[in-house]
Each structure stands twice: as C-alpha cells, then as structure tokens.
C-alpha cells in the first residue's frame, strides 16, 4: 500500500516537472537543424563527382607507382577476412571460400560469375562495335596480406573462363605521378 502511494507521488512529481518544462519557452530545438545538416551531407556525398569508387571494398592496396589506366569492366577486390578469402566485385557481388581450401568447388559460383561477366562484355562490345583495350583487362585489387598461393586459384579461374589479360591494382601516391622514381623491393630506387 505504501509502495503504491509512493509510486503515485513519483508520477505526479514527474507530471508537474514536465508541465513546468513545457510551459517555459524553448529557444533552441536542435533536431530539425541536425536533420537538415545530415540531409545536406548526404546530398553532397552523392553529388561530389570525385567520389572514391573503391569505398566499401575491404582490400588494402600497396602504394606503388604504376601505369594509370581507366577503370576496367571487370574489377574485383580480394582480401583475407578471418579464415576466408573474400572477393567483392564492382557490381557488389560477394564470394568467399576458405583460405586453406584445396577444392575448387567452393570457387564454382565465382567462376560462373566471371563467365557471365565475360559473355556480357563480349555481347556489349559486339553490339557497340567497339572494344577498348583497357576495358577487357580484368583488374584484381589484391590485399597486401595475401600470399601468392591465395592468388593462384583466382588466376586459374580467369584462365578457365578465357580471360587472358589481367592486372594487379596498386594505389598510386599523388605526388609520385609527377615524379618518376619508385622504391624497388630491394630498397633501392629505380627510374622509369
């Protein structure tokens, strides 16, 4: 009985406090402003022309100056996540298989995906009657933590679907675009 009376007192106190607060003029109500700021930020992010196309792909690339090409038709990133090798493609498809997998069955969906992409590119080029050399090169953004044994099955998959030209992607440091030196694995400098 005593508990019920104290609970009613608490409620009435809360009601009085709320009534008192609402009766005061509020000069600052931030949520419409914050909502506007968030909308403007989102719109700006979608309207900025130089949006990084590789955002959202987990591969961490090496910084290394190499020849710059326009984006390829078939591009995918490859990175080790936990016990798996995860591949994300430029049309947001995700494939994964175990790093220690000795079977090619786990890669079968990826191989079929590559086959469909190649057929689509061939059909597109035939309809357009135009083929660009850079478009037919498959670009692999391989994570720095990968070893060559992880890359081998992917190269075998490319060969299986008939892709003969591929490339490993690197991140070019902006300042090195104007210079002509780069670090070699031996630690020395080579000049292009």
């Amino acid at each position: 009985m005593a508990m019920e009376s104290s609970r009613a007192a608490n409620w009435s106190e809360a009601y009085v406090a709320k009534q008192q607060r609402l009766s005061e003029p509020l000069w600052w109500y931030p949520y419409p402003f914050l909502l506007t700021v968030a909308l403007v930020l989102l719109l700006t992010a979608h309207l900025v022309l130089a949006t990084n196309p590789r955002m959202g792909h987990p591969a961490s690339l090496i910084n290394f100056p190499s020849q710059v090409r326009p984006d390829s038709a078939v591009w995918f990133s490859m990175s080790p996540i936990g016990p798996d090798i995860v591949i994300t493609t430029n049309d947001r498809r995700v494939f994964r298989w175990r790093q220690d997998s000795a079977s090619t069955d786990e890669m079968r969906p990826f191989v079929e995906y590559l086959r469909r992409r190649v057929e689509g590119e061939i059909a597109s080029a035939a309809l357009l009657k135009r083929v660009q050399g850079s478009q037919t090169t498959t670009v692999i953004a391989a994570d720095q933590r990968l070893r060559y044994l992880h890359l081998r099955p992917v190269i075998a998959a490319l060969a299986e679907v008939g892709i003969t030209s591929y490339a490993l992607e690197t991140l070019v440091i902006a300042s090195s675009l104007h210079g002509s030196t780069h670090d070699s694995p031996s630690g020395g400098h080579t000049t292009e």
């Binding site: 990968l146 690197t170 031996s186």
Partner: protein
Amino acid sequence: MPAVLFGLFGLLTILSFGLRAVTLASVYGVVPLEIPLVQASVDDPGLHEYREEPQASLTQNSPAVVLTADAFYFGDLTAFSVNFSNVRDKYIIRHIDGAPQLQKLLEQLTSWVRERAAHQNIPLSKVLVLIPSGDVPVPIVTQVVAGLRTSPHFERIILSNGLM
C-alpha cells in the same frame, strides 16, 4: 547564442573538409599480366579474311624467373622443366636480409639474354615467365613484375602456377 552559431559553423566547416577527404577519389594504377593462349586460328573466308597472328610466343628458350622466399633463380624454361635436375643452367641471386635484389636480377638477366642472343643465336624474347612460390606475399610479386617490366627486354610477364 552567437557562440553556439559560431561553433556550429566551425563544425560544419570541419565536416565539409572531412567529407571531401573521404570522398576524394584516389589514383589507382595497374601492373599488367598475361595468360598465354594456344594458337588456334579460325578461317574467315567469308568476311574480311582476317587472320590472327601471335605477337609473341613462348618457346623452350623463353626466360623464366623463380621467386622464392630466399632467392631469385633464373634460366630458360627448359632449365625449370625437362632439365630441372641440371645445376649448370640456372643462376641464383640470393635475397639480402629477406629483401629481393631486383636491380641485380635485372642487370644479370639482361646481360644473360643479350649474351645468349649474341653468341648462341637465341632470339631475344619479349616474354618472361615468373614462377613465385606460394609463400611469397602478393605485394612482392606485384613489385617484382613491375620491376621486370621496366626492362625493354620483358614487355610481357606471365605468372606461372608453380613448379610441378
């Protein structure tokens, strides 16, 4: 109130810079590689009589480089296939403190192919087969391929699956 507005203006400025930094496109480059094909020309008598011709070919004398965690080995393809047990047709350049000696490899490889062309009448091949071992990190493979492509003698690099 002016302090609040001034603070919000500053916050918006910082957010704009942050947004610009996040969405700014980086510059990406590629290190090209190739997978060899078996030549199988298809006759085209009806249209333009187009005929495919190979730009370069792999032969038993094509240079090959094996990259392991300890050293570079180079020779021709025969040295790493049918003559694998022969120790007199391969050359070794050891890594120093784990660092591949790419410049030294390029110098030795270039002088070797030039000497072969001059004295043994073996034509210079623009194709090089790189055979990395499985434990070599991909960034090292990428940099070695890029380094080899700086030589005018090796325009096309083929990554091999490994030694069988």
